[in-house]
């Protein structure tokens, strides 16, 4: 992907301001010349400011993706919000940590964020502050929140992790005996 800076310069500038203290900004384009802008915000609280700015240019929320950078079952570490306006995709990423363990709801700015927020609440256990409609979306009320986090892939179970633990224990026990 080639580096490029195109799109509405005013909105991009206003989003860049939200990434000055530790955040990052990246611009890219696909081979057809469609632009993608990537903003990693300084903290999740700034999401509301960014959403306000995007609503001002009549952007549309396309999707929200929660993910982690380790194993599938680990707590989600980052949430990426994908918006579109004028054929350009704007991606806002926020990092979840001990200081900011939740994201604010952006349903006030984007009504269609409701389903996305409810989905990440129930499947990944992400806390969404001030979500006006925190009902289950897909999973039954009787099931635990963050159910997908509890999922242990068969490949992880069978990749020898437990065997390695056992082997190390045997070795350490052997060391104690001798």
């Amino acid at each position: 992907m080639q580096d490029t800076i195109q799109g509405d310069a005013r909105i991009l500038k206003s989003l860049e301001v939200l990434c000055h203290n530790g955040g990052t900004v990246r611009h890219s384009a696909d081979t057809f010349g469609n632009n993608f802008h990537w903003f990693k915000l300084d903290n999740p609280r700034l999401l509301v400011n960014a959403a306000e700015a995007l609503r001002g240019v009549r952007a549309r929320l396309c999707m929200i993706s929660a993910y982690n950078s380790r194993q599938l079952g680990d707590p989600m570490q980052e949430v990426c919000y994908h918006f579109e306006f004028g054929g350009t995709v704007v991606n806002l990423t926020v990092t979840l940590n001990g200081e900011w363990p939740s994201v604010p709801s952006i349903t006030t700015q984007f009504t269609n964020a409701d389903w996305h927020e409810r989905e990440m609440m129930e499947l990944y256990g992400i806390k969404v502050a001030n979500q006006p409609n925190p009902r289950r979306l897909f999973l039954d009320e009787e099931m635990d929140t963050g159910l997908l986090k509890d999922f242990v892939p068969l490949s992880v179970m069978m990749n020898g992790a437990s065997s390695s633990d056992l082997w190390e224990r045997i070795l350490s026990d052997k060391g104690k005996k001798s």
């Binding site: 696909d30 993608f36 999707m63 993910y67 990426c80 579109e84 269609n112």
Partner: protein, 363 residues
């Protein structure tokens, strides 16, 4: 259940004769008139995104094509574009045209299926049978060209699997000669028949302001006068080279959404013809380069609207995250607006007007 005053709550679904897939509506009604709609889904949630993160990039091309049957090609198409964006892979020009060709063939069949189901719900059995008969010609095209009626298996990372011979291009053009007048006839019936017009015109209103507020996509948005089409806004594959119009209709009702779909069939037929004549010679696939740590998005216009894919790679051939959002996901909430003040008997017809896909939505 009586909820006080003169309103009652009626459960509808998840299994209902007029609904193609399981979804549960809790309707608050006053007599026969719907005052509020609550929707519950999740009956066919399969955890496919979790499955995708345990398979490698090549295996996932097969998996995502099975998210949905009618949009199957759009999923593999968008997924392959996302992988190509994340790895910087450029596909050959011939593959660009062959991808658009397959997509438009699927769009014609998908739109015909939706209009056929509309006739079925109305109770116009002969129109239902006739529309399915016309659609069957497109099914024949898919089976003859790709060897399959639903999952074409055409898209692969770096290009397409199935190259088309000049004879197959001629065959497709010949079939379009039969399909086009048949669809023209159908368009006339759906536009003027008193039974169809009587049941659909003014039904399931979604004003433009609500459509914008809810972020609806595809024919649902275009049927409310919103000019939104990824093929025009962010051209991909062969679309930068193809001539076509974005069809919109200001009616905001079930009738206008059907009109959009039927009119779009003619744009798709035109694009199929252009692809058959303009596809350049050359290779049909490029090879996957080294996978690095990166993230990328891709979006396409499926028959039901925008499909959005997000991928993150960590340098291995298994994606760290693969997430997608289907058009129906954005359109369900619009049913709350569309059904308000309508009759209970129209619920199935209004639901069909968003061309819903539950399997897609729930993954």
């Amino acid at each position: 259940m009586n909820t006080g005053n003169s309103t009652f709550t009626i459960p509808l679904g998840p299994v209902h004769v007029a609904l193609e897939e399981p979804v549960y509506f809790r309707l608050t009604v006053e007599g026969e008139t719907i005052r509020d709609v609550n929707l519950t889904s999740g009956h066919v949630h399969r955890g496919m995104e979790a499955m995708a993160m345990q398979r490698n990039l090549l295996q996932n091309a097969t998996l995502v094509e099975r998210v949905c049957s009618l949009c199957s090609n759009s999923h593999s198409f968008t997924y392959c574009m996302a992988v190509e964006n994340v790895t910087g892979l450029v596909i050959p020009p011939r593959a660009r045209f062959l991808r658009s060709l397959a997509e438009e063939i699927k769009r014609v069949a998908s739109h015909l299926f939706n209009t056929a189901i509309q006739a079925h719900i109305i109770g116009f059995k002969s129109l239902f049978m006739h529309t399915m008969e016309v659609r069957e010609m497109m099914q024949d095209v898919k089976e003859t060209v790709y060897g399959n009626r639903m999952n074409l298996g055409q898209n692969c990372i770096g290009g397409v699997k199935c190259d088309l011979t000049p004879e197959l291009f001629t065959y497709i053009l010949g079939m379009l000669e039969k399909v086009e007048p048949a669809v023209e006839e159908l368009r006339e019936v759906f536009a003027t028949n008193s039974m169809v017009v009587g049941r659909t015109k003014g039904l399931g209103l979604l004003p433009k302001e609500d459509a914008l507020r809810l972020g609806v996509v595809g024919p649902v948005a275009r049927g409310s006068g919103i000019n939104v089409d990824v093929r025009k806004a962010s051209p991909y594959a062969a679309y930068p080279d193809l001539k076509f119009n974005v069809i919109t209709n200001d009616g905001c009702c079930a009738y206008s959404r059907t009109r959009v779909r039927l009119d779009e069939i003619f744009e798709s037929i035109s694009m199929i013809r252009q692809c058959c004549r303009m596809t350049p010679d050359g290779p049909t696939k490029a090879y996957l380069p080294q996978i690095t740590v990166n993230e990328a998005c891709a979006r396409t216009e499926a028959p039901r609207g925008e499909v959005f894919y997000f991928i993150r790679t960590d340098g291995t051939d298994v994606p760290q995250r693969l997430k997608w959002r289907v058009p129906s996901y954005m359109n369900w909430e619009a049913l709350g607006v569309m059904m308000r003040d309508c009759k209970v008997a129209d619920v199935a017809l209004i639901t069909n007007s968003i061309d819903p896909c539950v399997s897609c939505t729930e993954r």
